[in-house]
Each structure stands twice: as C-alpha cells, then as structure tokens.
C-alpha cells in the first residue's frame, strides 16, 4: 500500500492546495510553499508532484478562464478530493497519536 501513503513534500503540497482554496494553481502553490517553509520550491518539482497527486486521485484539476496575463494561457486550478482529504487527516492522526505519547518535550534554550 505504498502508493497511497503520502510523502513529506506531497503532504506539504496537498496542504498548500487546501490552504489556497480557490487560488491553488502551480505558480501560487510554489510561492505559498516558499513563504511558509522558507525553502525555494522549483516549478519543475511541484509540477511533477501535482501530476503524481492527480494520478493517485488525491487532487483534481480544472482549467480557469483565459486572461491577458500569462500570454493568454489558462491556469490549471487544483482542488483536494475526498480521498485527498482523508489522506491528509490520516497523516495528521498518525502524527497527533505520536505527539500524544511523548511524555515531555523540552526544547532547551541555550
């Protein structure tokens, strides 16, 4: 069942799509990821991941309206599917479960 498991980056992208709601298209996702993680996200990497997520059925996409920006090319908007949402919830549950059994967790401030 390896195929249904979420990788770390996949999870991040999926979360970003959910967070962006109506505005989730590739460039915006890259920007948002960069803003939150502080790491540079390459379009090529994100594009591959989006493609894979769609193959797994975790997201679905639709084409937007054509505008004068982007050389008149339409954007592809992504949306998290039901399966995607379940996948995200499960990932969160796994983490929460683990967090809950940690007794104390001190970050020492040096």
């Amino acid at each position: 069942m390896k195929g249904t498991n979420l990788g770390e980056f996949e999870e991040l992208v999926l979360l970003t799509i959910a967070a962006l709601v109506q505005e989730a298209y590739s460039v915006a996702i890259c920007d948002e990821l960069e803003k939150h993680t502080g790491r540079v996200s390459k379009l090529g990497v994100v594009h591959t991941v989006l493609n894979r997520l769609e193959e797994k059925g975790l997201v679905k996409s639709r084409m937007g309206e054509a505008t004068s920006a982007r050389g008149g090319k339409r954007k592809r908007y992504y949306e998290v599917t039901q399966t995607g949402k379940i996948g995200l919830m499960r990932a969160k549950e796994v983490r929460d479960g683990l967090w809950n059994i940690i007794p104390t967790f001190n970050i020492e401030i040096a």
């Binding site: 460039v27 090529g44 920006a69 050389g71 090319k73």
Partner: protein
C-alpha cells in the same frame, strides 16, 4: 540608436521562440497550456526583477528540464493505424487520378524516370567506388606508404609509390608494424614456355604479400610462394593462357635468359580491387637482377616504382608509425641534395577515393569527380521534382473538392498529407521501374564505353545493396517531389472548398511556380551553353597550331624491336614517304625530364626527346638557326643538342640570340653537348601548360621508342592493313600498336571529350525535362483561361492578340532565365575554367548564344502551338459546353 535598442528590447522581452516551439512539439496536449502559462508567468517575473537575458535563459532551461517521461507526447498509434488502413484507399485514388490526367501523369512519370535513371547511374557508381577492396579481410588495418617528393622550389608531387628503402627501414627499425610488403610495378617481358611465347606483365612482390592482402591461392603455400628468387605466382586466368590445361605448378617460364618457377596459383583478382595483377614475381628476383645492376635501386629518393603496404595490429592508431616515419624522413633528407622526400601513411579506404596522386598502382578517382557526378544528377532530379511540384500545385484546384470531402469525413491534416505523399511515392516507384530499364539497357552501357578509365574503375554490376539504394532513392525522390503540394493540399479547409472553390488561394503560389520555371530554364541554359562553349574550346585544342605538323603521321610503338630491319621493309611501301624515330610522342601529355646546366651553379629541369635525323623534317619543325643533326654518333657518344627558344631564355644563352647561341656548350645529364640548332617554340606538353625549355638529343636506335611514318596515301585503313602485314612477318608475338598522331592528340584530351559528352547529355535531359514542365504549365494555364479567351474573342480580340496575351508571361520567365544564365556561364568560363589553360581561344559568342536560341525556339514552339490552338477555338462551343 534609440529605436534600435527598443526593437532589441522588444525582441528580448519575449521568451525564445525556438524553446516555445520545442515545448509545443514535445509536450502532451493535456499538459501544454497551463505549463506554457506557468513558464510565461515566471518569465514575466524574471523579466521585471532580473532582466531579459536572465529571464530568457531560465525559460530555456525550464523547457529543457520539463522534457520528462510524463510530459512527453506518446506516438499517436491510432493515427498510424488509420494511415495503415487507408493505404489501400490511397493507392486506389492515386491510380484513378493518374489515369484521369494522362498528359500530366506522362509528364511527371517520364520526367522523373529519365532523371532518376541518371540518379541510378550515380548511385551504382558510388556503390562500386565505396565497395573497393571490401574483400580484403584486414581492410581496416592496411595502410599504404605514400610519398611527397619535392625537387627545388616547386609545389612538389604526391606519389602513391615510394622507395624500397622506406619499406626495409620500416620492417627493421620501426616497432608497431604487424606485416609489411614491398611491391614493385613494371615487370614486362616475353614469357617463353617450350616453343611458345606470350607477352606478360607482372609485379614484383615479397613473401609477406599474402599476409597483408587477401588473395587466396588455389595451389601453393602463401607463406613461401614468393620467398625464393625467380619464383612466379600466376592468376588462374594467366595460368590457363600460358599452360592451357596442364598443371602449371613447378613448371618453368623463361624470360629472356632467366628461368622462373611457378610456385603458386592465385584466384583471379576481383574487379573492385585497386591492386590488380596477372602474375607476381618474388621480390628476391628483383634484388638479384635490378638490385645488383642499378645503383639507385635502394636509394631513399628512388620513389617511382615501388609500393609499400603494411598492416597495424588491431586497434592500433597509425599515429605512432607516422611519427616514426616523420623522423625517418627528416633523417634521410639530410643526405639528399636539392630535393626532399617525405613519406606518410594512407589508409586503404582512401586509396581509390582519395586526392589525386601520381604513379597510382590501380584505378582511382577523386572526390571532386564524385561530387561533380552527384551534383549533375541532383540538378536533373531536382528539375524533374520541380515539374511534379509545379504541376501538382497547379492542378490542386481539381482535387480540392476531394480533400474537402475527406476532411468532412473526418480526415485530419496529417491524413491528407499522408495521402498525397503516398501518391507521389507511388509515382516515383512507377518512374523507378521505367528508369531502371533505361539505366540498365542504355545508360549503363553508354557510361562504361565512354572511356577506358571508366570501365577500368567500375563495373556497375547490380548488387543487393545497390538495388536497395535504388528503392530508397525512389522513395526519397517521391517524398521530396510531393512534399510541397501535399503541404498545400492538406492545409485546405473543408468549409471553404465545399462552399466555393474560387476562394481557394491557389494563385498565391504563382510566385513559387514561376520561380521554379525560371530555375529550371536557367539550369538548362547554363548546361547547354557550357556544352557549346566547351565543345568550341575542345575543337580548338585539337586544331591548335602546335608549332609542328602532325598530319598524316603514323606512330608505331617498337615494343622492344630493333628498328633498322622494320624501317627498311616499311620504307618499301609506296604509301610511306619518310620514316623517323623518336623516344616519345610530344604534345600528348607524357614528358621526360633531364637536368641541364649552362653556367656553373645554375641547373634546371628541361624536357627532352631523343630523335634521329629524320624527325625534324617529318614533323616540319621550324629551325630558327643552325641545322639538323649531322653526326650519327653511337650510343653514349653524342655531342650535339638542338634546343628551343625557351632554353635560350631560361639560361640566357648568348643574349637569347638564336644565331649566336650556336656552338655554345651545355651540360645535360652530365654530358657536354654543343648547341647545333635552335627551334622555334613548339608545344611539348598539352595546351594546359605554358611552353617550357625543351631539348632534342640524338639517338639512332631506340627499341622502346616509336617509328614516325609520314603517310602519303589518303586511304588510311588500307595503308594500316599493309603496315600490319609487314609487322606480322616481323614480330610474331606483339600485336601492332600504331596510331595516327592526330588521334593520339585527341586521346590526350579524351577527359575533356568525356566531360563534354556527360554535360551534353545532362543538358539534353535538363532541356527535355524543363520543356515538359513548361508544356504542362502552358496547357494548364490555357485550360483554366479557356472561358476568358472565348469571351475576349467574342468581344473582338484577334488571334495574334490572344496568343500574345497568353505567351507574355512565359516569355518573360524565359527572358529572365536567359539574363541570369548566359552572363553566369560566360564569367564561369572566362574567370575559372579557361584560366587553367595556358593557351586557349577566346570564348565564341555564337557558341554562348547558339544553344540558348535553340532552347528558346523549342519553348516558343511549345507555347506558340498550344496558345494558337486555344486562340483558334470556336468560342461558341467553349462557352456553351460550360
């Protein structure tokens, strides 16, 4: 400046177009649009923040980076399958269309067939040339040692031959050579077997010969057959000639006074071998004969008759041996005076198709010749393709409905494209059948009989490879011819055609069609003008005033016989007026040099001929001063020389005064000779070369030379027959070798006549093809304008006016072609070709124009007859039937 930079920035503020096109080409349609948009967005962002150059670079990198398995389009199998299913339909419609338009099909198929037959010839020629020496098992590892010889300050000579010494040195002192064999050419003698005698030519070769080369022996041991002195290896054919059906092994063959033993029988040499022999004699025999008597035999600069071939171990580069050869050359050249001899390695595959080399051991051709042939064939084929393109586009109006219908039924652009490409390939394959017949029955034989050099070089036999090449060639020709019309037809939109054909932008292509006609006629005119000028010049060469007379002079090769007896018998024939002797025949391209010295320290090469006292009168040479040879010295005791004006000029003898020069002494090849006569300059070489210093020396008897007979009779054949009778009684072994001087001169220029015949043939083809194409276009134009013509006629236009109206456009095209072609040809000859000939006639304008007028007349005739026919039509009939 400002506008300039603005324009530049505009160009730069756009993503690189090739990258955009590449992306659109490879990317799947479902992913393409938003990916393009994303890249555009990043591009704009980078443009604003980091500048145009950076943005463009990132765009390019991204496009390349997105070339991944999930973005790349899969091949469209459905489409391919449809093409496959439709092939039957393509063939059917093609056949119908061919049958429906007989004239156009005829023009297309015949034009293509004629031009392709030339293409087949060139392909067969190339296949043969490239197949040379393929049977050699070690062909990738065999190298030949070649020589660059330079005496004095000249450009030097590239020789295929080299010295015995370099072979020995290579074998003894240079590591990295696997096997090496030394070959020497030029053995010729009469083989005596019992009572019978056969003339035989052979090569000397040493015992490693069969290690380097793959020439299988049917009898004898390849390792030792050429080891002992006086061993002889015969080919099967030679053995049959010499011994008939007896077993030749171990038999003796006598040459002169020496007995040779047959130690091996080799299979006959394949035709496509640059190295050919009838018999091989062990090199040890040469060591024992020539090597003993000839001081020069083992010298470093004795580079004229020996050939060295070697094999390197597998995977070895020749660079190491080459370096060793360079060192060897440098070392040996120190011992030479006034000349340098450098040796280098040449791979076996460059031997036949390499740059020109003197002293070649077998047939060879140069890349230039090959490219010329390919060029000529391409021009012709292109011309026929133009016809196809032209006529198909012109006629596309007729087939636009069909295309429209197909599109309505669901054909895509690629399907229509495929259909028309398939059609042109079918036409090309039909043409291939005809062209093959033309080629095999006619062209091949004509080409092989053009000259002895050609049949020596190639056989043009069919092989699987060449036939395969023929088919591929036909398919490629079909694709090339059909591409433009297929593109044009596949772009037709169904809606426009079905609604109204007049909306079709067929006449937008008129410019292209006119250009193609102009190109065709320009090429045709260039070829015909080249042929005519070339022929004029060639005639000029043959009738050139050489400074002496060659008329009615018959040259007989003595072939080793003593002249005295023969001379006496021939002199009794009433037709023979006078007989002289000479070592060689001048003005036909061969040359013999001698070293001449006048003042101490100033020596130079002069050309020489050895003659007897009758030579000057027979050839009517012009003596400016002095007289003919008077003394008749024995061999080696000569004291006189006759020189030409150039000798006086070169050595500045007696202030170049012919009278005063008499009696001056010059040293020639170490002998001191007195000038007894000065000749007016004449042509010793061919007219390509300037007249150079020439001397005549006396020699009473020259068994290797010629007899020059002055013939009085007009009946050349009868005289020749009588002479042959005399010869047969005199020499029973060798057939008579007698040729008229004028024919020999013609032979010296045979390469030009071959060239002319080929270009002339190409010219005729080009004209025929261009005329066919023009005819097609005229017929088509008239057909489409028939209504217009009829209405004009009804309204009162005269026939002349109509003919003029229809002709005008075509005549203009022909005029443009002539204006381009004629000056171009003139300049080409004047500035390039004729500068290579030291002596030539000026270009005759009538030659330049004559052919063109002929071509033009042909075109007028065609246009005229068709337009006349159209203009004479009864307008009522035409208008009613529509």
């Amino acid at each position: 400046m400002k506008t300039n930079s603005k324009k530049e920035s505009q160009e730069n503020s756009h993503p690189p177009r090739w990258a955009q096109r590449f992306l659109a080409w490879y990317c799947r349609a479902s992913l393409l649009e938003d990916l393009e948009g994303d890249l555009n967005e990043y591009f704009d962002r980078n443009l604003r923040m980091k500048g145009a150059r950076y943005a463009r670079m990132i765009y390019m990198i991204d496009v390349l980076k997105f070339f991944r398995s999930y973005t790349v389009r899969k091949p469209d199998f459905l489409n391919l399958q449809i093409h496959y299913l439709m092939i039957g339909s393509y063939v059917r419609t093609s056949r119908r269309s061919l049958v429906r338009n007989k004239l156009f099909s005829f023009i297309n198929i015949i034009g293509l067939a004629v031009s392709m037959s030339v293409g087949l010839l060139v392909i067969a020629f190339l296949a043969d040339v490239h197949a040379y020496d393929d049977f050699q098992e070690k062909k990738d590892r065999i190298y030949r040692v070649i020589t660059h010889q330079q005496g004095g300050t000249g450009a030097g000579m590239d020789l295929a031959s080299t010295s015995v010494k370099v072979g020995r040195k290579l074998r003894e002192t240079i590591p990295g050579v696997e096997d090496l064999t030394i070959i020497r050419g030029g053995f010729s003698g009469d083989a005596q077997i019992g009572e019978s005698t056969f003339p035989l030519e052979a090569k000397w070769a040493d015992q490693s010969f069969f290690k380097v080369f793959t020439f299988p022996l049917v009898a004898g041991d390849p390792a030792s057959a050429l080891k002992e002195p006086y061993s002889l290896v015969l080919t099967q054919e030679t053995a049959k000639k010499l011994f008939a059906d007896a077993d030749p092994m171990g038999q003796t063959v006598r040459f002169d006074t020496l007995d040779y033993m047959v130690t091996g029988i080799a299979k006959d040499v394949p035709h496509l071998s640059h190295l050919r022999f009838d018999a091989l004699i062990s090199f040890a025999s040469a060591d024992a004969t020539n090597g003993k008597t000839d001081q020069y035999f083992y010298n470093w600069d004795s580079v004229w008759s020996n050939y060295v071939y070697l094999t390197l171990p597998e995977g070895e580069s020749p660079a190491g041996v080459q370096r060793a050869l360079d060192r060897l050359s440098a070392e040996e050249n120190k011992t030479l005076r006034d000349q340098r001899v450098n040796v280098s390695l040449q791979p076996l595959k460059d031997v036949t198709l390499g740059n020109h080399m003197s002293n070649n051991i077998g047939p060879a051709t140069s890349p230039l010749t090959v490219w010329t042939l390919v060029g000529l064939a391409s021009v012709i084929i292109l011309s026929a393709c133009f016809n196809y393109t032209n006529l198909s586009i012109a006629r596309s109006l007729r087939r636009s409905r069909e295309v429209g219908m197909r599109k309505v039924m669901g054909a895509q652009k690629s399907h229509v494209l495929g259909q028309f490409m398939a059609e042109s390939v079918i036409v090309a394959l039909l043409a291939l059948l005809i062209s093959f017949v033309l080629y095999y029955l006619f062209l091949r034989k004509e080409f092989l009989t053009l000259g002895p050099d050609i049949s020596e070089l190639v056989t043009l036999d069919l092989s699987v490879r060449s036939v395969l090449c023929f088919v591929i060639f036909a398919v490629v020709t079909g694709l090339a011819a059909g591409f433009l019309p297929a593109m044009f037809l596949s772009k037709i939109s169904a809606v426009t055609v079905m609604k109204d054909t007049s909306g079709l932008k067929i006449f937008k292509r008129v410019g292209l069609r006119k250009t193609l006609i102009v190109v065709q006629y320009t090429l045709s005119l260039i070829f015909i003008a080249t042929t005519m000028i070339g022929y004029g010049q060639y005639k000029g060469f043959l009738n050139f005033d050489l400074g002496f007379t060659t008329e009615n002079v018959l040259n007989i090769k003595l072939q080793g016989n003593d002249a005295a007896v023969l001379k006496k018998e021939l002199a009794e024939l009433p037709e023979v007026r006078e007989i002289s002797q000479s070592m060689m025949i001048t003005s036909v391209g061969s040359a013999y040099g001698a070293l001449m010295k006048y003042q101490p320290g100033d020596s130079a090469m002069v050309w020489q001929n050895m003659i007897d006292e009758h030579y000057l009168p027979v050839h009517k040479h012009n003596l400016l001063s002095g007289a003919n040879f008077t003394l008749r010295p024995e061999k080696g005791k000569e004291s006189e020389v006759i020189v030409n004006q150039q000798v006086l000029k070169r050595f500045n003898i007696a202030g170049q005064d012919a009278q005063k020069a008499l009696g001056h002494f010059v040293t020639i090849d170490g002998q001191k000779l007195a000038i007894v006569g000065v000749l007016k300059d004449f042509h010793y070489g061919t007219v390509e070369n300037k007249i150079e210093p020439v001397i005549f020396r006396y020699a009473g008897s020259q068994p290797r030379g010629y007899l020059n007979l002055k013939i009085a009779s007009q009946d050349q054949d009868a005289t020749l027959a009588k002479i042959e009778n005399v010869w047969k009684k005199f020499d029973k072994i060798h057939p008579l070798d007698a040729r008229f001087y004028d024919n020999q001169i013609e032979g010296a220029y045979s390469q030009f006549s071959i060239m002319l015949k080929m270009i002339g043939f190409v010219a005729v083809l080009a004209i025929c093809i261009a005329s066919l194409g023009l005819l097609g276009m005229v017929v088509f134009t008239i057909e489409t304008r028939l209504n217009e013509i009829s209405i004009r006629k009804v309204l009162g236009a005269s026939e002349t006016e109509l003919v003029y109206l229809l002709c005008r456009g075509f005549l203009l095209l022909l005029a443009i072609a002539a204006v381009i072609a004629l000056p171009l040809t003139y300049l080409f000859f004047d500035k390039i070709i004729l500068t290579r000939f030291a002596y030539h006639q000026p270009i005759d304008l009538s030659d330049l124009l004559g052919g063109s007028v002929l071509v033009m007349l042909l075109a007028f005739l065609m246009i005229g007859s068709q337009t006349m026919k159209a203009a004479r039509n009864n307008p009522a009939k035409v208008l009613k039937s529509n």
